[in-house]
Amino acid sequence: MATTVNGIAFIVLAFALLLGALSVMTSRNVMHAAYWLLETALASAGLFYFLSADYIAVMQLMVYAGAVGILVVFTIMITTRSRKDAVRALDFSPAGLIGSALFFGLMAYAILTSPSLVHAALPTSMPSIVELGKTMFSANGYALPFEIASLVLTVALIAAVWWTRDGDAE
């Protein structure tokens, strides 16, 4: 497990992350955008690993790169009938560009001028997966939210099946 966040690793992964996100925006083929989304998820899992959050990194790989990626690819294959449908004109919105640029400027200003908290050095104590399990399933910890999360997933699963069922089969 990495004890510090290496600058070179951070730059490489940050570049991969932003490249993936920008390519999702600029890909004219929807399928290529889905593959770039996978690359973004992989790069973020790498960043989680360097933040000593290896459990979150594995979850990111399984949920985003695995489940969500396959779901997106299958939905594209169901809703586009020909190769011609998948390639589309580049969407451009000047208002969206200005709005998101302003948002980024505001956030960057807030982060760079904020007091000492965000400039803190890396603590030597590290989160551990053993403590994570103990805290998650202790009565004073996150046992109840964990159960509610599984309920949310069940409801979402049933809702997804209900929405995509064949309409004539009632």
Binding site: G7, F48, S52, A108, P127, T164
Partner: protein, 103 residues
């Protein structure tokens, strides 16, 4: 050379802005959902980075990130199911074609 928390926060702000632009500008519903996924990746990165630098032993950020992942998995599941349902109803899934409720 080691990087601090502000580098992670800046990176995640940039990623969130890119996702926000996509969610506003994309005309295909799947494109909008992919942009929402990018935004939620940015938020998860934020939570994990703050957790590592500020509360490394309490792991509050880890739990937030995990529950965040659960809700965003539910969101993308229902979102894509809705895309398929809309496609079945109207043979299209373009945002600009969904004008039935337009006044």
């Amino acid at each position: 050379m080691n990087v601090g928390l502000d580098a992670f926060l800046l990176l995640s702000a940039a990623l969130f802005s890119i996702g926000m632009y996509g969610a506003i500008s994309k005309k295909s519903t799947i494109g909008v959902l992919m942009s929402l996924e990018i935004m939620s990746i940015a938020i998860t990165l934020n939570l994990v980075a703050i957790d590592r630098f500020v509360t490394p032993t309490a792991m509050t950020g880890w739990f937030f990130a995990l529950f965040m992942m659960v809700t965003s998995a539910a969101e993308i599941g229902i979102g894509l199911a809705l895309v398929i349902a809309i496609f079945r109803a109207g043979k299209t899934s373009e945002v600009s074609d969904l004008t039935e409720l337009k006044g």
